[in-house]
Amino acid sequence: MSQRPGALAGSDGAAVAPPTRRGVRTRGFRLALVAPAIFVLLLVGVFPLVYLIVVSFQNITMTDVDTGFQGLLNYRLLATDGRLWEALLHTLIFIAIALPVELIFGLAMAQLFIERIPGRAVFVALLVLPVLVSPIVAGANWSLMFDNRFGPINQIIGWLAGQETALLWTIRPTLVYPAILVAEIWQWTPFMFLLLLAALSGVDRSQLEAAAIDGASWWRTFRKIVLPAIWPVIAVAVLIRGLDLFRLFDIVWALTRGGPGTMTETISIFTYVKGFQQFETSYTAAVALLIIVLLSAAVFWALKRVELAR
């Protein structure tokens, strides 16, 4: 930025005013403003990273007395830890299913609500409520809903099927994934919906009308006009939700605690169990570092993809 010190920048990035007599002193001022925030971020952002690296080369567990440095031991263990890679796989399964479903369902809902509907604002305000519920509370609530005997889900299915139903949603291996995904999708589809509704209402109406007059099909209009217009918002929404899903913990914790066995263990739950229940301190540090590296690589790749697609 070739900007004169002391000048204020507007939203267009251009300097809008000449430097004042105090211009000389603004350097100290503007650094003083950011310094405390940067200090706190370094404290909680960078310190842990450094500390993780140090601990990961040691050998701290609950039982071992010798906590000396062990070189790459913990990193070698990572490669052969089947449970770790399964946890990663479970996480990716959740992302691979929940993310597209939330996106498509949210987009469909946004398409519905972009049209004229009486009392639309009220509907939208109500539909957003799931996003505001704490995920752990949402998970707890769904575990009550999925209860085999006293929950409403089995009763509704019973009505539809015409016979008494007592499915063990949070215990049967074939049902745990659907149960968790239902809770997850229930909570976060409204997030997608809200963002995409905002994006859709920003689409140029005159272009849509022109397309209608030209006799363009709905699908063609959607693909050629609507989708390019809302693409940036889709990218942001997918990125935010993708990151959230990668750290998925609360809903699974409330519904299954990673069970049955380790069937629904996500990477966050695995790390929690290793670090805070089995106290394999050094190994957990190595796992945490692995997560950070993998996620950084994924985000970097995603950002590149988005840039290319633009």
Binding site: L8, P48, V128, L144, F150, F191, I292, V299
Partner: protein
């Protein structure tokens, strides 16, 4: 005539779909609230009862009598104070980033990237540090962590809000002899009051609803309501009444507060990326 009839039909269909969708999404929340008003007999009735026989506050009374409700107070203290801290530090930094382009794009990008680190990777080393400092299960520990965790969000949001206001007024105030600090407090922050308020609300809600940090860093003294809810889980004997009543105590305030913030909802939950 035919087109009109078709349009009417479309409107009716749309409205019907909207009603059905809204009911489907609200049903779990209805169920949660409804259980909290049931008696134990009604909760464990088969087939399940879809509405309570009468509104009954006994489940809430138990929480207050046993002192479990103080966890809501803990949530309030931790979320409240950490919001104030991160708003104060974040708004100052945001002003510097927005108006002086301090650190350029790199600093701004680094700050937002701090938000992307998975909480489990942060909380583990923080826990080890807090054990050493004796900060586990203290207000200070959680407040510091939440303040830091929310800081990137505050900076990012407030940077956007500050860029939205024209800098001309600040220049005028400087010419009038205001100091930089006075400009900040008497011109800039008052002008983005609504943005400050909206950012603070969402910062508060993030901290209020957070579970993992609180699970790891609290024991009994400063447990938050989200941790308390999970204390009622266990084997076959889930304390359903307590789970639901505790959840409602924690959820209702958020609903009420955000109802006044509808205008900023989209911008708030999209990390400022969508203006809404």
């Amino acid at each position: 005539m035919k087109i009109r009839a078709r349009r009417r039909l479309a409107l009716v269909l749309r409205t019907g779909a909207a009603v059905a969708l809204t009911l489907a999404f609200l049903f779990p929340i209805y169920w949660l609230f409804m259980i909290s008003f049931k008696t134990p007999d009604e909760i464990f009735a088969y087939p399940p009862k879809w509405w309570p026989g009468q509104i009954n506050f006994a489940n809430y009374a138990v929480l207050f009598k046993d002192g479990d409700a103080t966890t809501v107070w803990n949530s309030l203290v931790i979320a409240g104070v950490s919001t104030l801290v991160s708003m104060f530090l974040g708004s100052l930094a945001a002003y510097s980033l927005a108006r002086f382009r301090t650190g350029g794009e790199h600093l701004a990008n680094w700050i937002i990237s701090q938000r992307m680190v998975p909480p489990i990777a942060i909380v583990f080393p923080i826990f080890l540090l807090y054990v050493w400092l004796g900060w586990v299960d203290t207000y200070v520990g959680l407040i510091l962590l939440y303040s830091a965790f929310n800081l990137p969000y505050v900076i990012w949001m407030m940077r956007g809000f500050i860029l939205d206001i024209p800098p001309a007024l600040e220049e005028a105030a400087l010419v009038d002899g205001y100091t930089r600090w006075q400009v900040l407090w008497k011109v800039v922050f008052p002008m983005c009051r609504a943005g400050l308020f909206a950012t603070a609300i969402f910062t508060f809600v993030f901290a209020w609803n957070e579970f993992l940090f609180a699970l790891v860093l609290t024991r009994t003294e400063v447990a938050t309501y989200t941790v308390q809810v999970t204390h009622y889980f266990g084997g076959q004997s889930n304390f359903w009444a307590k789970i639901s009543a505790m959840s409602v105590l924690g959820t209702l305030p958020v609903f009420v507060v955000v109802a006044f913030m509808q205008r900023y909802l989209v911008r708030g939950i999209s990390l400022g990326a969508v203006k809404g």
